[in-house]
Amino acid sequence: MRIAVQADSFDPGAELTRFAAGHTDQGAIVSFSGLVRDVTGGLEAMQIEHYPGMTERAIEQIAFQAKTRWNLGDVLVIHRYGSLTVGEIIMMVATTAPHRTDAFEAAEYLMDYLKSRAPFWKKEVTSQSADWVAAKDEDEDALSRWDGS
C-alpha cells in the first residue's frame, strides 16, 4: 500500500507502470486520475489546502476499509496540494485484485471517501474571484451506496 500526499506533480502513467509491475499475480488493475478542469472558464489556478498529518491518516483508514471490504492485492493513493493549473493532475488512486469487480468497486469507494472524508479543500481562482469549492450533495450521496452491504 502506498499513500503519498505531495505538492509535486506526477505522471499517472508512470505510477501505473510502477504499481502494476509489483502485482503480476493479480488479474485486474483499475486506476482513476483526476485532473484540474476549467468548468466555468477563466480558471487561473486550483489551490488545494490540506491538514498535514491528518490527511495521511484519513487516507490510510479509507484504504484499510477498502482492503477489508474487497479482495484486493494492493492500493495506491497519491493526492497533491498547493497551486495547480488547468489540465494538471490532482490525484490518483489505483487498485489491484484477482477479479475486475473488486478492483472497480474498491477504486470507486476510495474516490467517494477521498472526496468527502479526507481533509482537502479546493479553491478556484480566476482573474475576478477566489472561491472555495462547495461540497456537493451528490458526493455525500455517493457515500451512502456503500452503507450496510
Binding site: E49, H50, M54, W121, K122
Partner: protein, 83 residues
C-alpha cells in the same frame, strides 16, 4: 486545559489564522465553539452556520457533541472537497 486549535479553508480565512493555543475549560467541542464565538466578531462570523462546520479531535473526524476529555488538537473546517 491547553488545546491546539486549528482552522482550515474559509474558517482559517475568516478567523485570520491557521492555528492557536487556547486555554479552556470547555467539556465538549460545542462548548469550545460557544466560548470562541464570545471572544471576537471574526469567530462569531466563522461559526455562524454550524451545519457548514466539520470538526476533528486529534486528527480523527468527530462531531460537535464530542467530549474534549484528553484532547490535544481540535480542528475546524468546512466539508471536505478533495479528490
Amino acid at each position: 486545559m491547553k488545546l491546539q486549535v486549528m482552522y482550515f479553508a474559509w474558517l482559517r480565512e475568516r478567523i485570520g489564522q491557521g492555528s492557536e493555543q487556547v486555554e479552556t475549560d470547555a467539556a465538549t467541542v460545542a462548548e469550545l465553539v460557544a466560548e470562541l464565538r464570545t471572544r471576537e466578531a471574526r469567530y462569531d462570523l466563522a461559526f455562524s452556520d454550524l451545519s457548514a462546520v466539520r470538526v476533528a479531535i486529534d486528527q480523527e473526524l468527530t462531531d460537535l457533541d464530542a467530549s474534549l476529555d484528553g484532547a490535544r488538537e481540535v480542528a475546524f473546517f468546512p466539508p471536505m472537497t478533495g479528490g
